[in-house]
Amino acid sequence: MGEVKLMKGNEALAEAAIRAGVDAYFGYPITPQSEVIEYLSREATKRTGMLVLQAESEVAAINMIYGAAGCGKKAMTTSSSPGISLMQEGLSYIASAELPCLLANINRGGPGLGTIQPAQGDYFQTTKGGGHGDYHLLVLAPYNVQEMADFVKLGFDLAFKYRNPVMILADGALGQMMEKVELPPQLPRENKEYPWATTGKPKNGERRIITSLHIQPEKMEEINLRLQRKYKQMEAEEVRYQTKNLEDAEYVFTAFGLVSRIALKAMDIGRQKGYKIGWIRPITLYPFPKKIYAEIAPKVKGILDIEMNAGQMVEDVMLSVQGKTRVEFYGRMGGVVPTPDEILENFEKMFIKGE
């Protein structure tokens, strides 16, 4: 067993970044995730020589990542909703230039400046692209502090496997709350050479160009087709999810991140009352675990999707079940967190009393 600590989600993520041998963090403070840059500023450079740079804006931070990632280095940032919006331009360029990097969005309530309380309103932005053009981030949704730590190394592994930006989509509560976390071992910084990385033109080889500009439509389409093939491969190889009680389920509660835990409790209370409720939690939001929903749909009377937004992931659930079962949605917005009781109450209203 590794070192066990009581840590905030933000701190666990920061500590995991040091231990994953990350080369650089570029960021800009924003509540509720400023602990990440504070923790790294305190700990990282002295321990591994990792660069920690407070940028002048999120716009600058994401472009510093572009530069560092283009050199084949492990570069990352974290922010919260308004800051992530500012990074969308850079993310589109990074996705197009096929650079690996890791981001975390500690989602707060919006739109606009909104609130600093937890929310999941950035699901669409995160899973459907976010910036301009046809691209996807690979999206991981942790549901506890342990996964806030674990998904850092996993995120970089996936980012380099696919040369694609990876986003950890968490929320203000996961960032701020403390839980028991078993820390991963310290890995060295790798200093690996990549044939695509701009580190100075090789003496016996071609120069490397990192760009997202391809003026010829045929060439740009070719790039798009390559990206789409990559996303298909992710869909085939990287889908991750967790289920409970699906064997005898007549209903399914589904949710991601923090809310999936609340839904789990609602399921337990519901089972005590005699409702046969199962549970699905997507861990990768992109690629979305379509298959498990398609498989369970014909076997159940309905799926209740619960989110801290106005209903975003529910669209992917509906696309996955293809009308094979009833899908209902319950959500709270603007930083309000639903309770297990209110989830169950709404479930009864929608599925039991109406029957």
Binding site: Y66, G67, G90, G200
Partner: protein, 264 residues
Amino acid sequence: MAGEVLDVVAEDIVRPENLVYRRPSALLDVDMHYCPGCGHSTVHKIFMEVVEEMGIQHDIIGVAPVGCSVFAYNYMDIDMQQAAHGRACAVATGIKRMLPDKFVFTYQGDGDLAAIGGNETLHAANRGENFLVIFINNAIYGMTSGQMAPTTIDGMVTTTSPYGRDPKTMGYPLKFGDLIAPLPGVAYVTRQAVNTVQNVRRAKKALQRALEYQKQGLGFCLVEIVSNCPSNWKMTPVESNKYVQNVLIPFYPLGDIKVPEVKK
């Protein structure tokens, strides 16, 4: 004149010992997309000459902007990254911080550097990032065909200042080099031009000095080059070079704005 006579003369002349002008090895042998007479090609050439002379072709990484010089990487035979509009100094920060022993430069136009990228440029300068910014100032947006730039001078006609720039409503022309020169992180700011042979030679010398300063780790260096845009100024190349001399240079005087203090 008979053709055979000329041939004989040419064969007689084209010999290594007679070489007075050639393409630098770090510049690729391809056609450039720049308009005839444009200063970009001259700056590309002299900068690649400096790279060749310093022997750093394998130790330099460039950042191309958005603007006419977005395709700089098609001509410079070195590793390069293409940055989003205005973000070159942020991208260069990422590169230089990861590879502090390599030479890093950005190549940016006036809109990219001083308008949309003003903040990135200012803060990279203020952090004293140890890289070179080559700033091509032709007082107009070339790639999007002739709109007003932050450096467009008072009264100058562009497609978005069709009656001449009126500073009262459109703001004043921005002297970005003068703006950042007082910052302690900035080592070297100079303003050059490539409209005459003498100015080309001086500009090349400035680019070389800037890379020497980078090697010494002195900090942020900005080499501004007052340049032309014959197409969008609607002038011949010769007229445009005269306009640089007679109109732009009086407002953007050439010479060093800040040089590193000599350590005793």
